[in-house]
């Protein structure tokens, strides 16, 4: 068994720098609490060089370094940093587990163990794997060192031993020679408790080699059973259980704000950092966010929790930020925000196989982002692919999910059969009164038929019906260009002066003037068995004196005239 260990030595400092990278290079101290009596938990190398020492009071630290930047330790940031360390490890190995929290002088470190068995073939060597591990951890914003050894404990000891070399240091203990290589390491790396450390010091035991050279029984007699555990750890004798595959859970990024934010722009600025870090973690694990939740801690103890709609999984931080911004614009928080947390449910990135013989459409990831943003802009019910509805109601249509290139078998308009039925095509009004057509062409048969049957539904028209005349259908179509309609949703009310021959004058927001030509009426009725949904229209094609060609209809239910489409 081979185990790798990635170790971030100074987590409180690393977590602050991960959230505020602009502080890198400055004298920085992380305090346990606000106020001058708070204790310095961690200090940057620049601050240490100027005399700031961990465990000193903040007042003493400020006295030593006047330009000291101070941040209060944030449990939320540290939790997110620990999770980020695990995410970076999971990007390289499917089996990874966080190390149990350390105590004593190593309380501020965070470590993760990875199953490194067989990685040499993927990364050429275990050194290559350890280097890639260190780089992956640095990519998520944490300075870390990496080691590979035969057990978790030994790998952890080695990682601690190279932490002083700085971020990016790696060391590999080859199988078999571990005891020899561990011998010169300091005994402090085992983190013994204070009493045991003092006893070992009195015995003159300062390295692991010196400890292992002592007889085991005598050690237990003189120093107690605790030292045996340390000796076993130093020998690499611990029983190594298999590192499990973690569940694909939530990815959480959070921040506790020093001051409450009551305006949208600064809040979005804070959320930008959160989402950027979240996207980096998603990228490290090759995941996308399938869902996104935003939790805001409000001043006064309130909470604002909302889900941000994602039409498709995405890991793009700009898209996530736009969606969050949009959600906050639509419904601003009720009070100033004192803390924020974003949670993303990760899912595998969608892959797409390109087609050699079709034009390349939008990439699945880009399409997902675009759909998500369009839904945020327009609403989830107003984005999709248009479809013909199985409904005779005029203007009925449906919207279905858009899947781009993965759509149904393509239809070629040019391949549509020629119109040979002696009926005119391209009468959009027929579509409303007829079942959806399947060949892209629309026959005027329904219009002709609609014009011919006598009125049997008990509706009385204020004009003579054209049913007396034989229905004359148009000559065979010869490939002319189709006249389309522009729908008006909702239909525009019109004031119409109607005579015995139909409408003679129209006044409306879209068409005005004397009616020059009027064709119709064509009656469309349906859903008469439902009192609420029934409809009955007499429809005319009219040309008004202002040049507009409109589809004008008389609604028998409301007794009103309206224009539901313009020929355009």
């Amino acid at each position: 068994v081979r185990v790798a260990c990635a170790l971030a030595p100074d987590l409180p400092l690393a977590a602050v720098l991960r959230a505020s990278p602009e502080l890198a290079g400055l004298p920085l101290a992380v305090a346990s609490a606000p106020g001058p009596r708070a204790e310095v938990v961690a200090a940057s190398p620049e601050a240490v060089r100027r005399g700031v020492r961990p465990f000193a009071s903040l007042a003493q630290a400020r006295a030593a370094c006047g330009s000291l930047c101070v941040r209060v330790a944030s449990p939320a940031l540290e939790r997110a940093a620990r999770d980020a360390l695990l995410d970076a490890a999971l990007g390289l190995s499917p089996r990874a587990i966080p190390a149990p929290p350390a105590a004593g002088i190593y309380a501020g470190e965070a470590a993760v163990y990875l199953d490194a068995s067989g990685v040499g073939s993927l990364f050429r060597s275990e050194e290559g794997f350890a280097t890639a591990l260190g780089a992956a951890v640095q990519k998520v914003g944490l300075p870390a060192v990496a080691s590979v050894a035969g057990s978790r404990g030994v790998a952890h000891l080695v990682a601690r031993s190279i932490a002083r070399l700085g971020p990016g240091a790696v060391r590999v203990l080859p199988p078999g020679g571990e005891a020899e290589l561990l011998a010169p390491l300091a005994i402090d790396l085992l983190d013994p408790d204070d009493e045991l450390a003092e006893s070992l010091s009195r015995y003159g035991v300062r390295t692991l080699g010196e400890l292992l050279a002592l007889p085991r029984r005598a050690l237990a007699t003189r120093l107690g059973p605790a030292v045996l555990a340390l000796a076993a750890l130093a020998r690499g004798e611990e029983v190594e259980a298999q590192i499990p595959v973690p569940a694909r859970g939530l990815l959480v990024e959070a921040v506790d704000l020093d001051f409450a934010i009551d305006r949208l722009e600064p809040l979005v600025f804070v959320l930008r950092g959160l989402l950027s870090r979240l996207a980096t973690r998603l990228d490290a694990r090759a995941l996308a966010a399938a869902s996104l939740a935003l939790h805001l801690d409000l001043e006064g103890g309130g909470r604002d929790e909302r889900r941000v709609g994602l039409a498709a999984p995405t890991a793009d931080p700009r898209t996530l930020l736009r969606l969050v911004h949009r959600a906050l614009e639509t419904r601003p928080p009720g009070a100033a925000v004192a803390g924020a947390r974003v949670e993303a449910q990760g899912c595998a990135l969608e892959r797409d196989q390109l087609d050699l013989f079709r034009p390349a459409g939008p990439a699945p990831a880009a399409l997902g982002r675009t759909l998500a943003e369009l839904e945020a802009l327009c609403g989830s019910q107003r984005v999709g692919s248009p479809a013909l509805a199985d409904d005779h109601r005029p203007g009925a249509f449906a919207m279905v999910g858009f899947d781009g290139l993965r759509s149904a078998a393509p239809r070629c308009a040019a391949a549509s059969p020629p119109c040979t039925d002696g009926l005119r095509s391209a009468a959009p009004r027929c579509a409303a009164a007829s079942p959806p057509c399947t060949d892209g062409l629309r026959s005027a048969a329904s219009r002709c038929a609609a014009a011919s049957p006598p009125c049997t539904d008990g509706l009385r028209s204020p004009w003579p019906s054209s049913t007396g005349a034989p229905a004359r259908c148009a000559p065979p179509c010869a490939g002319g260009f189709r006249l389309a309609v522009r729908a008006l949703r909702p239909a525009v009310r019109a004031q119409v002066t109607a005579g015995s021959g139909g409408p003679s004058f129209v006044r409306s927001a879209v068409a005005n003037g004397r009616v020059l030509h009027a064709a119709g009426p064509w009656r469309t009725t349906g859903s008469w068995w439902f009192a609420e949904d029934r409809f009955a229209y007499d429809t005319f094609d009219v040309q008004t004196s202002d040049g507009t060609l409109a589809r004008l209809r008389y609604d028998h239910r409301s007794g009103a005239w309206e224009i539901d489409a313009i020929y355009d």
């Binding site: 939008p362 249509f397 959009p428 004359r472 879209v510």
Partner: protein
């Protein structure tokens, strides 16, 4: 005897003087083209209407902002649906940003549009066009939509010039064709191609009276790099 060195800035006497035009071509590189060279062939989206394609020299150029302007009943929608039908029939993916909420799927299907290949975004109607403009920009940024139709619903005058410039830049970067359906030309110099449509007459005939067709005039009022002010007559409806 060794050759006498030239002073700095002199040219060897055995080389002919460099013509000014050649020097300009060398300095300015590909930005200059010697007169008389034929223009490079453009990649176009054919409209499916031979008269329009002849007028435009092949169709609507890819990666450019194009404008189709005209009053109601002038044939804008019919021309746009024909372009959409031709493009989707070529298995390309298209998008319609419909601020007017006037796209009629029945009419589009009748025109031959493959509806499965059309993404239809319907911003909530209102006085602001920002959602429609943002939506069009996102669709262009997605890179893969051959055609993005933007229908501002007659409110194109409210669009600032900077927005047109931004859309034109995004279209150029993405390779998608952005076609704007407007009542009056609004994109100005940002439009690579601008067509103005006008209705000539409508034909009603038969017993009972039926709307047979409309005749429209299409005027090419702007085409970058070509002589505009050419026109074509079109008959829309049953032939």
């Amino acid at each position: 005897m060794p050759p006498i060195p030239f002073a700095a800035g002199d040219r060897p006497p055995d080389r002919p003087p460099e013509p000014a035009v050649a020097r300009l071509l060398r300095d300015l590189g590909p930005r200059l083209r010697a007169g008389g060279d034929p223009p490079e062939p453009r990649d176009c989206l054919p409209s499916g209407l031979p008269e329009i394609d002849r007028l435009l020299g092949g169709g609507f150029p890819r990666g450019r902002l194009c404008e189709i302007a005209g009053p109601p009943s002038a044939g804008r929608t019919s021309l746009a649906l024909s372009l959409l039908a031709r493009t989707t029939a070529a298995e390309e993916v298209c998008a319609v940003v419909d601020a007017a909420d006037g796209f009629d799927p029945l009419s589009a299907a009748a025109a031959g549009v493959v509806l499965e290949r059309v993404l239809w975004a319907r911003p909530v109607p209102g006085p602001r066009l920002s959602e429609a403009l943002r939506g069009a920009e996102r669709l262009l940024e997605a890179q893969g939509f051959a055609l993005v139709l933007l229908d501002p619903g007659g409110r194109e005058r409210a669009v600032p010039r900077s927005a047109w410039a931004r859309l034109a830049r995004t279209a150029a970067a993405s390779g998608s064709t952005l076609v704007v359906l407007s009542r009056e030309r609004a994109a100005g110099p940002q439009a690579e191609v601008a067509l103005e449509l006008g209705a000539l007459r409508a034909h009603f005939a038969g017993t009972p009276l039926l709307l047979e067709a409309i005749e429209i005039e299409v005027v090419l009022v702007r085409q970058r790099g070509a002589r505009p002010e050419r026109s074509a007559l079109l008959r829309l409806g049953a032939a």
